[in-house]
């Protein structure tokens, strides 16, 4: 790490600059044409910025205003905006291109005017930022900004600067969770250009590191459920439509920068497939060893097939990226809402137990009842999503300028401008639901060691006075031990879920629902209010994160876990949601630890897993950090699809993370 990077990083880590931001009582301006609202807000905010630069800051566009004017209803997120558009034209060029498109589509003038006004505000902000930089003697930044105002970016620095400015704009107009997509693909030509013009790789690593620090400066004021949940994730590697592996020198530099900086952003996803060499996994495992909770892996063999099965064109599917957490999305052209609703599996099984178990003569009958509860929940989700769609009346042409077909046709996403408008349904608590079903199958129907009435009474009493019955449930077969009973139930439950959800029209033209295996903050929130379940879980206790063994389950081990969790047909659940496993940090200190963890990941992919997220974690450290937060200002943990600072999390999330490490190896 160079001195420049060290200085900038130390400055960021102190976080003092965050205290000097202003809060502004913005004047409430409500343009008659809703299309003008986002641009108006951009204008208000950008004009209020003091254009501060920090020591060693070569990217600027920092937020000096802590709050934003109200734009309720206009927000959108979890999409990968059209970076190639910005990189092709530059800041001034984008505005001109929008003007040209307006002249071609005069009937869409309202859309284009709304977009152009936002881009003009960005140009003004950029010009002021250049002047301020010059005044402070930062000629590099001043020259860079002026260059991209007048022409397209031509090298790596200018390309990063363009993305920086664009991200500023998008966050202000409420594209929350701005994901960064295939960074090593769209940035690579610019990276090569810089090399060609004499830059060394070390210099470009330094530049990348300074850029990544810039990305972290304002994450405390980005929108999210918890701090860190801001969607700045990027994707490395993966195939092209010609089936070439794009992992390149820039991918390596990104990994290296992330490893040296140990910051929460950008979160890194790596696309792999069954032919990815072990050395790649080893390289990535060295980053995992840092304890940041990334990279997260996704399997091209499964995801691309899954997306084309859902109806995405191959050329789009092959470019897939990750939304803020894990949802597989198609960049640039789609406006999918990937997290619109969440299936609560344990709740479905509990409801079936209470309502129907008494009348079921065998497990098959009961299983059918549980599936009916899944169907009933889905029917509710469909209705609620319709209400959501009815509320989508606020156009956001500035943000939609970064959805290619919206921009080209002048049609906002709310009017169907995007190519894909699908809905994603998370699948929360699959493992505890499978465990509950397996317990009922073995204890109630096969062994008859628990009667139906006792089980129902015990669940309704939240196991008060039913300690031994609960122990029997806790010692029943658990998903993750690679046993036939749980494997079969998991396969059938998920097949049913996928068959009901995938392809169901969502009410938008040509658009559908897609099933997934994720579960975000809901592993805490949606578990609250769900009574005791037949896996032995007590009322309100949290579910595991995404697609993982139940909390407190001591599985046979990681080989059984990856074998079990790759049995279901994951090609049908490409709304995404990773198997999440915790490995004690000491494993990574062992010389054999890195290659062996790499082998484990490679095997997960080979067995047909869709997504994997690994954490190097030390339970003792987390407990100590709860007791003495002052000693751990920079302790980073994976929360759900993102990483954040442990100290900045609510207690319920801290506790969920600690409890899932109880049996980490």
């Amino acid at each position: 790490m160079t001195d420049k990077v060290k200085e900038f990083l130390a400055f960021h880590r102190k976080r003092e600059y965050r205290k000097t931001r202003r809060t502004i009582d913005f004047e409430k301006i409500e343009p008659e044409d809703l299309n003008m609202w986002p641009a108006t807000v951009m204008k208000q905010v950008s004009e209020a910025e003091d254009l501060r630069l920090y020591p060693q800051d070569i990217f600027g566009f920092n937020r000096s205003v802590a709050n934003l004017p109200d734009l309720k209803g206009f927000h959108m997120g979890n999409i990968t905006p059209d970076y190639p558009f910005a990189l092709k034209f530059g800041l001034g060029g984008m505005t001109n291109e929008l003007r040209r498109l307006k002249s071609v589509n005069p009937d869409k003038a309202a859309f284009y005017d709304g977009a152009i006004a936002g881009f003009e505000a960005l140009e003004k902000l950029a010009a002021r930022q250049a002047d301020e930089a010059e005044k402070q003697g930062n000629t590099r930044l001043a020259d860079g900004i002026r260059a991209i105002l007048s022409r397209p970016p031509h090298d790596y620095y200018e390309a990063l600067l363009t993305q920086r400015a664009m991200t500023y704009l998008l966050r202000v107009v409420r594209m929350d969770h701005v994901t960064m997509g295939r960074f090593d693909k769209y940035m690579y030509p610019f990276f090569l250009k810089s090399l060609e013009e004499g830059a060394t790789k070390d210099e470009l690593l330094e530049m990348t590191e300074l850029y990544f620090i810039s990305l972290n400066l304002d994450t405390d004021i980005y929108s999210g459920i918890q701090q860190g949940d801001n969607g700045q994730s990027l994707v490395l590697g993966g195939r092209t439509k010609e089936s070439e592996d794009i992992f390149n020198d820039l991918s390596e530099i990104v990994l290296c920068a992330s490893e040296e900086l140990c910051l929460i952003d950008p979160k890194i996803n790596v696309r792999v497939n069954k032919n990815t060499p072990l050395s790649r996994y080893e390289r990535c495992t060295r980053l995992t060893a840092k304890g940041l909770g990334f990279p997260q892996y996704s399997n091209d063999d499964v995801v691309i097939k899954g997306l084309t099965d859902l109806g995405y064109d191959y050329d789009d599917a092959v470019e897939y990226t990750m939304a803020a957490c894990w949802e597989f999305i198609v960049p640039y052209v789609a406006y999918d809402i990937v997290n619109i609703r969440t299936m609560n599996f344990p709740k479905a099984v509990r409801q079936a137990t209470i309502d129907d178990l008494k009348n079921c003569k065998d497990f098959e009958e009961f299983f059918a009842c549980a599936n009916k509860q899944v169907d009933a929940q889905f029917a509710e989700h469909i209705e609620i999503a319709k209400e959501h769609a009815a509320r989508e009346i606020y156009p956001n042409p500035v943000a939609c300028a970064f959805i290619t077909p919206c921009r080209e046709k002048g049609i906002d996403r709310i009017n169907g401008g995007a190519k894909y408008n699908n809905y994603g349904l998370h699948g929360l608590g699959i493992a505890p639901a499978v465990d509950a079903l397996a317990a009922i199958k073995t204890r109630v129907f096969e062994e008859k060691s628990i009667t139906k009435d006792d089980l129902i009474a015990a669940l309704e009493a939240n196991f008060e006075g039913w300690g031994e019955l609960r122990s029997l449930l806790l010692s029943s077969p658990k998903m993750g031990n690679n046993e036939d009973v749980t494997n079969d139930i998991a396969v059938r439950l998920m097949d049913h879920f996928a068959s009901v959800v995938n392809g169901t029209p969502n009410g938008k033209k040509g658009a559908i629902w897609r099933a997934g295996t994720g579960g975000s903050m809901d592993y805490v929130y949606m578990a609250r209010g769900v009574g005791a379940t037949a896996d032995g879980r007590k009322a309100d206790e949290p579910y595991p994160s995404s697609f993982s063994p139940s909390i407190g389950v001591k599985a046979n081990g990681l080989i059984s876990v990856i074998s079990s969790f790759t049995k279901p047909h994951l090609v049908k659940t490409v709304n995404g949601g990773p198997l999440t496993i915790e490995i004690h940090e000491t494993v990574f200190n062992h010389p054999d630890g890195i290659p062996k963890v790499a082998m484990l990941v490679q095997n997960f992919i080979r067995l047909g897993g869709h997504q994997l997220q690994l954490n190097a974690i030390a339970r003792e450290k987390l407990l100590d950090a709860q007791a003495h937060p002052e000693n751990y200002p920079d302790l980073i943990v994976r929360v759900w699809g993102w990483s954040g600072y442990f100290n900045e999390l609510d207690l319920c999330f801290q506790n969920q993370i600690i409890s899932r490490t109880e049996y980490g190896i």
């Binding site: 300690g467 122990s471 407190g552 081990g557 484990l600 190896i665």
Partner: protein, 283 residues
């Protein structure tokens, strides 16, 4: 069908040989190393253990044990009594076929990574008949590893070694008197068995635990290096002393009182290995 007593099956054991491995820990050991970090492995008899992680200290396990046995100890009833499922029986009886079936379930992953299964302990050769049957059942199906202290009648060891693909062989204390004192057994068989292992055709990896002031001394390391050199063995793995060694004693209801100073870091005598041209790796 031979039965054996297993106290743990650990998947993805990173430290017990090549590739991804599952290690089967067999209960019972003929030695009593003063630095032993798994006291629950020493006796052949099963015992109940309570994991401290997540324990509520509600003592319902002991209440149930008392009710069942009349003594305030963990018992069969304690397992069901624990509200967090933390009490377990250490020492489960398996028949060889069932155990091998279970191991073969993960054959795909074990094979694909160049790994396999490792029998460890305790001292696995203590359950020689059971071990032999398992090794024979797995022949040609999984890479079969053995982690041994080498303390076993040579005639028995020879049969076992012939059934192994990989032998991780512990070399502790060379000096006979010191060995007897700190390990609780003589080392004569161990030296003989190492030569048997070398002749068996299995891949042999000598491993030296580095216990501060006991095994990491200049003379001990030098003795072993000379001895390895005479046999043309040019490689050794070093296992650094685990400072958490005492933690399981409480779990097993015993007292940890090591006759050496735990606070001293063990020494890696680089110069001695280099002098003998022996490559070493710290694992």
């Amino acid at each position: 069908m031979k039965q054996g007593k297993v106290f743990s099956i650990e998947e993805f054991s990173v430290f017990d040989g090549d590739g991804i491995r599952t290690t089967v820990f067999l209960k019972g050991c003929p030695m009593r190393c003063v630095w032993c970090h798994s006291p629950e492995s020493q006796t052949y008899e099963s015992e109940y253990l309570r994991s401290p992680n997540g324990c509520l200290h509600c003592d319902r396990c002991l209440d149930a044990g008392e009710k069942e046995t009349g003594k305030r100890v963990l018992s069969r009833a304690s397992v069901a009594a624990c509200p967090r499922n933390l009490v377990r029986l250490c020492g489960e009886t398996f028949d060889a076929e069932t155990l091998c079936e279970r191991l073969l379930r993960e054959k795909d992953v074990l094979d694909a990574s160049g790994g396999g299964v490792t029998f460890s302990g305790g001292e696995p050769t203590m359950q020689a008949e059971f071990l032999l049957e398992c090794l024979r059942l797995l022949k040609g199906k999984l890479n079969r590893g053995l982690q041994t202290c080498g303390k076993c009648p040579p005639a028995v060891f020879e049969k076992i070694a012939e059934e192994c693909d990989l032998i991780l062989f512990d070399l502790k204390i060379f000096d006979k008197a010191a060995h007897l004192k700190y390990v609780g057994a003589d080392n004569e068989d161990i030296l003989i068995n190492f030569d048997i292992a070398l002749r068996s055709g299995a891949k042999v990896v000598p491993r030296m635990p580095l216990i501060p002031t006991l095994t990491d001394t200049e003379s001990n390391v030098n003795d072993w290096c000379e001895w390895l050199n005479e046999r043309g063995v040019k490689y050794v793995e070093l296992l650094k002393y685990n400072k958490m060694a005492g933690s399981k004693y409480k779990l097993a209801g015993r007292v940890w009182n090591p006759p050496f100073d735990e606070s001293i870091d063990c020494v890696v005598r680089k110069e001695i290995y280099e002098k003998h041209g022996i490559e070493y790796k710290i694992v």
